[in-house]
Symmetry: C2
C-alpha cells in the first residue's frame, strides 16, 4: 500500500461549496445543530458517504457515520454544525477531506484489512453541549444526560426526534475496531497566517479553566457617601483584574492565554456604588503545570485582596476542560506527509476546542491545521486560500494512508 | 412677629406615618410618581394643606401647591414621590414640616403681609425626569418637553391625564411673590450620623457630571489569539479605571466623589476577547473648578491611553448638573434657629440632588438636613431618630418664621 492516494482536489472544493449552500449567509453559514439547514446537510452527507463506498449509520444525536467494510479502521472526520455566524470551512473542511480520502482509499484498496471510517459530528459548537456529538459517539453521555439538554426553551431530545434521529442508536465508537482518529480543521487563529506558513501539525489542545470571581461590597448613594467609607465592589474588581494580568505576564509562560470576557456590576446604575461585581476569567494552556500555576496566582491574589476596603472576594470554578495531547506516532505520519509538499509548516497547539479533544481520551488522535486568512473564525468572512485547501487535502490523505499502512 | 411658632410635633409624626401608608412596604414605601399610591397621597396632601388654611392648586404634573392668602410668601416644601424601594421620610419629611409650619403660621399670624406657601413636588426621583416637578413649577419645561417623556412604554402626558391633572395648569412660580425657598430633607448619607450630630445646615448641592467612556478593540477567540496581538477593550477599560482613580486620589479634593457605577462588555461572553467596553463615570463636587479639573484628568488620560494596544477610547458627556449654592442670608436664619436647640450641627454640602437645586436658580434657597440612621437611603429601612424628627420640625419652623420676619 505504499503509494499515494489519488484524491481529487477539484471535487474537494466543489463538495465544500455544495455543503456551504446549507444555511448559506453570504460567504458564510448559519447552520446550528438541529436547524433545518443542519438536518438537510446531514442527509446530503450520508449520500456522499454512501457514494464513497461506506455504510452509513445516523445515531441518536445526528452524528453521520460512514463505516468501511474492513474489520478495523482509521476514523477520519470533524463536525458540520456551525455557530450562527459561522464560516464555510469550520468543521466542514475536515469532513469533506475525510470523505474524499475514504473514497480514494476504497477505490485503490477495496480489500484492505484496515479501512477508513468517516464521521460528521453533531453540535461540536455547543448549542446544547460543547462536543455533544463526539461525546455521545464515545459513550460519554447517557440518554438521561441528553434529556437534560435544552436551548432557548427547546429540549434536545424532542428536537432530535423531530429531525428523525433514532434514540436507540447509541455510541458507535468501538475500541477494537478503531486504530486512531485524525481530524483536519482551519486554525481559528492567526499564527499560521501571520507566519506565512502552509500547514500546522497540532501537538495538543489547550486545557481551559473557567472561573467566576465574585466581589461583594455595599450599595451606597454615589453622591452622598464619602470615598473613604465606600465598599466599592466594582473598583475592587478593576484593581484585581489589572493585578492578575500583571501577575500572569510576570509568569512568562509563552503559550498561556487568559481572558476577562464578561463583567457585571450590581445594581449597575450610574449613581449607586456597585455592591457586587462578577468577573468571568478563562485561563488556557497545554501544560497542566502552567494551568495550575495560574490557578494558584488567582487564589493568592484573592487571598491578599479579600476584605480590603470592605470588599469580600470569592472564587467559583465554573468549568474545567483538561488539555489533550495528540499522539506522537500519528503526528510523525502527518509531518512526513506534509514534508512531501512543503517545508513551511510548524508544530503548534490548538487554543480552541475540537472533537479530537474528546476522541483523544479514547484512541490515539492527531490533527492537521490549514491557515485561516487573518486568523478570522466564527464570522461569515472566514476563509482559506485555495492553495491551502488543496494542499491540506493532499497532506491529509497522504497522512491517513501512512497511518493505516505504517501501523 | 418675633415669637416662636407653636408647632405640634406629635401631629408631624402622625402625619408622616399617615403619608407612609400610601404605598407602604414594611417600614418603607413604594410610591413612584403617578402610581396609584402617589396619586392618592396627593389628594390627601391637598386636604391637609386646605385644613392648614391654604388655597390648593394642582398643576399639570401633579405638584400640589398650597398658597397663602398673603400677597408674598416664603415657599416651603419638598417632594412626596419615592423610588420603588423608598424610605418613609425621603421627601415626605420636608412636605409635612412645611404643612405644619404653614398651619401654625396661619393661626398665629393670619394677616401677615408675607405668608407661607407649601409645595409637594412630583417626580423628584426622576422616573420620567430628575426634579420634573420643580422644573415644571419654575417654568423650565414646556408642554412639548413633557410630551417627550416616557417610562417603560408609558408616556408621561397620558398618565398625568389619567390621574386627573390638568395640562392647562402651568408654572406656578412667581418671582414677585416668592421671597425664598426652604426645604428640609433627610441627609441620604452618613456624615451627620457618623459624627453623632443633630442637624445639618446645607451650604450647597454638588454639581454632577456623567460620562460614558467607550473603548473599542477587536473581538477574537480567547483561546486561539496570542496575547500579544489582542485588542482587548475590556482590559483597557480596567486599566483606565484604576489609573483614573489614582489620578483623582492624587488631586486631593476632600469633598470630591466619583463612581464607576456601570460597565458593559460586548459581546460579553467568556471565550471572546471583548471588542467593546462601556464605562459609566460620575464625578461630583460643589466647586466648579474641581469638576473642571476632574474633567481635564479624564480627557488627559483618554488622550494618553487612546490607541494603546489597538484600543481606541472616546468620551461622551451624557449629563451635566451644575452645582447650586444655598443663600448665605437664609442659611444664617437656619443656623440661628438650630442654635436655640442644639450645638451639635455642621455645615455640609449635599452630594444628592434635591428640588432646592432647581429652585436656587430662581430664588434664594436654603436646606436643612436631619440625620439618617446609618446614612441609609433609598431602602425600606431608611429611618431617623424620633428626637431628630421633632428637633428638625422645631428648627425648620423657627427658621421659616425668622426668614419671613427678618427679611
Amino acid at each position: 500500500m505504499h503509494e499515494m492516494l489519488a484524491i481529487d482536489t477539484e471535487r474537494v472544493i466543489a463538495s465544500l461549496k455544495h455543503l456551504a449552500r446549507f444555511g448559506a449567509q453570504g460567504q458564510g453559514v448559519n447552520r446550528p445543530v438541529l436547524s433545518d439547514a443542519d438536518v438537510e446537510s446531514r442527509r446530503w452527507l450520508a449520500g456522499e458517504m454512501e457514494s464513497a463506498g461506506l455504510t452509513v449509520v445516523v445515531d441518536a444525536v445526528g452524528n453521520v457515520i460512514g463505516k468501511s467494510k474492513a474489520p478495523r479502521a482509521l476514523l477520519l472526520g470533524s463536525h458540520t454544525d456551525s455557530v450562527p455566524t459561522g464560516g464555510w470551512l469550520d468543521g466542514a473542511l475536515g469532513v469533506i477531506y475525510a470523505i474524499e480520502t475514504a473514497r480514494a482509499f476504497n477505490l485503490q484498496f477495496p480489500d484492505a484489512p484496515i479501512g477508513c471510517d468517516v464521521v460528521a459530528f453533531s453540535d461540536e459548537e455547543g448549542r446544547y453541549l460543547s462536543c455533544l456529538g463526539s461525546k455521545w459517539f464515545c459513550g460519554e453521555l447517557s440518554l438521561p444526560d441528553l434529556a437534560r439538554l435544552s436551548y432557548a426553551g427547546i429540549d434536545f431530545a424532542g428536537a432530535a426526534q423531530l429531525a428523525g434521529y433514532d434514540s436507540e442508536v447509541g455510541a458507535q465508537f468501538d475500541a477494537r475496531r478503531c486504530i486512531g482518529y485524525f481530524e483536519a480543521h482551519i486554525e481559528q487563529g492567526p499564527r499560521l497566517d501571520n507566519a506565512e506558513l502552509d500547514l500546522g501539525i497540532v501537538t495538543g489542545i489547550a486545557g481551559m479553566r473557567r472561573h467566576r470571581i465574585v466581589f461583594k461590597g455595599q450599595a451606597d448613594h454615589a453622591g452622598t457617601t464619602p470615598m473613604s467609607v465606600r465598599k466599592d465592589a466594582g473598583m475592587a474588581a478593576f484593581e484585581f483584574a489589572v493585578q492578575l494580568r500583571d501577575s500572569f505576564v510576570e509568569l512568562g509562560a509563552p503559550e498561556a492565554v487568559w481572558n476577562f470576557g464578561a463583567v457585571e456590576f450590581r445594581p449597575g446604575v450610574a449613581n449607586v456604588v456597585p455592591k457586587e461585581a462578577l468577573l468571568t476569567l478563562e485561563t488556557r494552556d497545554l501544560r497542566l503545570e502552567v494551568l495550575d500555576e495560574m490557578q494558584k496566582r488567582v487564589a493568592d491574589l484573592i487571598e491578599s485582596n479579600d476584605g480590603r476596603a470592605g470588599v469580600s472576594i470569592t472564587l467559583e470554578r465554573v468549568g474545567d476542560l483538561p488539555s489533550a495531547i495528540m499522539d506522537a506516532r500519528l503526528l510523525q505520519h502527518v509531518a512526513s506527509s506534509a514534508a512531501q509538499l512543503t517545508d513551511k509548516t510548524m508544530h503548534l497547539h490548538s487554543g480552541a476546542i475540537h472533537d479530537a479533544m474528546v476522541l483523544a481520551r479514547h484512541v490515539p488522535s492527531a490533527m492537521l491545521f490549514v491557515p485561516s486568512i487573518g486568523g478570522r473564525s466564527h464570522v461569515y468572512l472566514e476563509n482559506t486560500a485555495d492553495k491551502h485547501l488543496r494542499m491540506g487535502a493532499e497532506v491529509f490523505a497522504g497522512a491517513a494512508l501512512s497511518m493505516i499502512s505504517g501501523g
